[in-house]
């Protein structure tokens, strides 16, 4: 399974309208990601990292080309099918955490399971397990506004992995965190990748993140300029 292709993009193009102008965010991007990867898409701002993640995460559709994710062509999915795909198989981690402000930590992590219709007892077990992974069991009743940035991002990680998705897309997950918290979060994600065989795909330009990655895809002006496997990536040590 580890060698199976999880995501394939073929000649992926994404254009945006910016007033009268058309801006090409992705320019014929062709990539393969195998299941269980811990991989980052890096590059400067405006290079198309988030756009690529959004398309692979079925949040957006390409202008042309194909993105086959878990054997489904993203461009051909209806809104409902795309929502189902995200619901069942994807987890998302955002730069700004995006926790639901009116929910407690427990409820935020529980939310994806509610959408999937898990029974209450199973939900509780899975949420506590996820909070255990991110070392936040003591904060389960806290509200997002009572958490620090690092804690908020750990809740977001728990919410992304609680349903044990096949792929987690993390868009600049450490951009709002200090070095210590960044390292802590990355350690957690790396360990989850190993334990659960979950594929992690990051978009980042943070050097601290890059040190942890086992594969780095570099984008510049929407084109893949480099794609390299790193033999000795950073670890929990």
């Amino acid at each position: 399974m580890a060698d199976d292709n999880c995501i394939q993009t073929r000649d992926l193009v994404k254009d945006y309208s910016l007033g009268q102008q058309r801006v090409r965010a992705l320019n014929h991007v062709t990539l393969n990601f195998v299941c269980g990867e811990f991989c980052g898409v890096v590059g400067p701002s405006g290079s198309g990292k988030t756009t690529l993640l959004n398309i692979m995460g079925s949040l957006d559709s390409p202008t042309s080309g194909r993105a086959i994710v878990l054997d489904r062509d993203i461009a051909s999915l209806t809104h409902k099918e795309a929502a189902q795909l995200r619901n069942h198989h994807f987890g998302f981690i955002f730069q700004t955490f995006n926790l639901l402000p009116v929910y407690s930590v427990f409820e935020n992590v529980e939310f994806p399971l509610l959408l999937l219709g898990y029974p209450a007892s199973e939900r509780k077990k899975m949420v506590l397990e996820a909070l255990e992974w991110v070392k936040l069991t003591d904060k389960e009743k806290a509200r997002p506004n009572q958490l620090s940035g690092g804690e908020s991002q750990r809740v977001a990680v728990a919410r992304a992995i609680v349903k044990k998705p096949k792929i987690v897309f993390a868009d600049e997950p450490t951009a709002n965190l200090d070095a210590q918290n960044s390292r802590h979060i990355l350690n957690i994600m790396q360990s989850l990748n190993r334990q659960l065989q979950t594929t992690f795909i990051f978009s980042t330009h943070d050097e601290k993140v890059i040190q942890f990655l086992r594969r780095v895809v570099t984008l510049e002006d929407g084109r893949v300029t480099d794609d390299r496997v790193i033999e000795n990536s950073g670890s929990e040590s």
């Binding site: 959004n54 809104h79 409902k80 189902q84 995200r86 998302f92 955002f94 009116v102 999937l116």
Partner: protein, 388 residues
Amino acid sequence: MMLKLALRNLWGAGLRTVLNVAVLSFAFVAIIWLQGLYEGMNQQASQALLREAYGGGQYWHPLYDPYDPLSIIDSQGLLPVKIDSFVHRKQATAILLIQGTLYPQGRVQTVVISGIDPDQRVLDMPVDVLKIDDSDIPALLGTRMAKTCGLSTGDAVILRWRDRNGTFDARQIRIVEIMHTNVQMIDNGRVWIPLHKLQEMTLRPNEATLVVLDRSTTRTASADWTFHNTDELLQDIHELVKVKQIGGMVLYVILLFLAMLAIFDTQVLSIFRRRKEIGTLMALGMTRWQVVRLFTLEGALHGIFAALLAAIYGIPLLVIYARHGMQLTDAVDSMGISLGTQLYPVYSTGMILATVVIVLTTVTVVSYLPSRRIAKLKPTDALRGKRA
């Protein structure tokens, strides 16, 4: 799950939710209060009419038409046997109507002379005062009529009429009592005298224009005289109240509009402020329509909370109001519905339920309309905080 999230979001909105719920609950109470007033008006006027004028229905002489004053000249006749038997058994009372002229203080006032049996118990009128045997004809007037003519108890006044041969005759009548009544039709332009006197004066022994049935007596078929049941007789008052109600609707349409404006505004603001949250919900796997439903539910919950709040302070308020009634001024008399000095609102379960359903439906629709924009929102745009 959606309900829980919607409830939490409403709770999180704090003062905005409180204000919306308060305004909407006020609209609820005001609408029910107004409807209750009209229903009370309808029932009060109907009951007074049944008690003092219509009884359990009326038999009319074939030529009698209450909307045509000229028909009174020819609409007198002997009672059919079956109807007469009701009168003899005191289950009905006969009324003879004759056109006449009153000359109060040198003025000329056209009147309908109404002959009624002073011993009757069918209508709730103080006609037993007409039993007085005097050289003058005893007469009973309503307060409105007495005021119009400037007459008071004990006054004597000349009354002129035509008998069955068309001969004019005139005599002095004496006002024996001024009655207070809420029913204008037995007051305005009416002079009540004993039936047998009027029959004598007009050379119409045993004749009448209409017969009012006791409320507990069942009608019987009559070939010539037409029976008019209470529904028919009350139709005019029902129509009149309905017209007043339509006028009153303007007020509660305004109230409802203001409340809906607040909800609409909240929804638009909410969607604008919470685009990132909408994007997150979509990223977590909610479909666009699920998010639309969530926002619509949040709006609709304002209506449910408003109904609950309205019940908390509205029920005691409306109950007290229904018990003590509302003081009416004389000006209400000119509305065409006589209600006495106090109006008691009536709140039926059906009316309250209908109001609640209408308000909740309107709130839901108003909440849904701005929420539809979410369906056009791309998850990526929502996450970036861009507008639809």
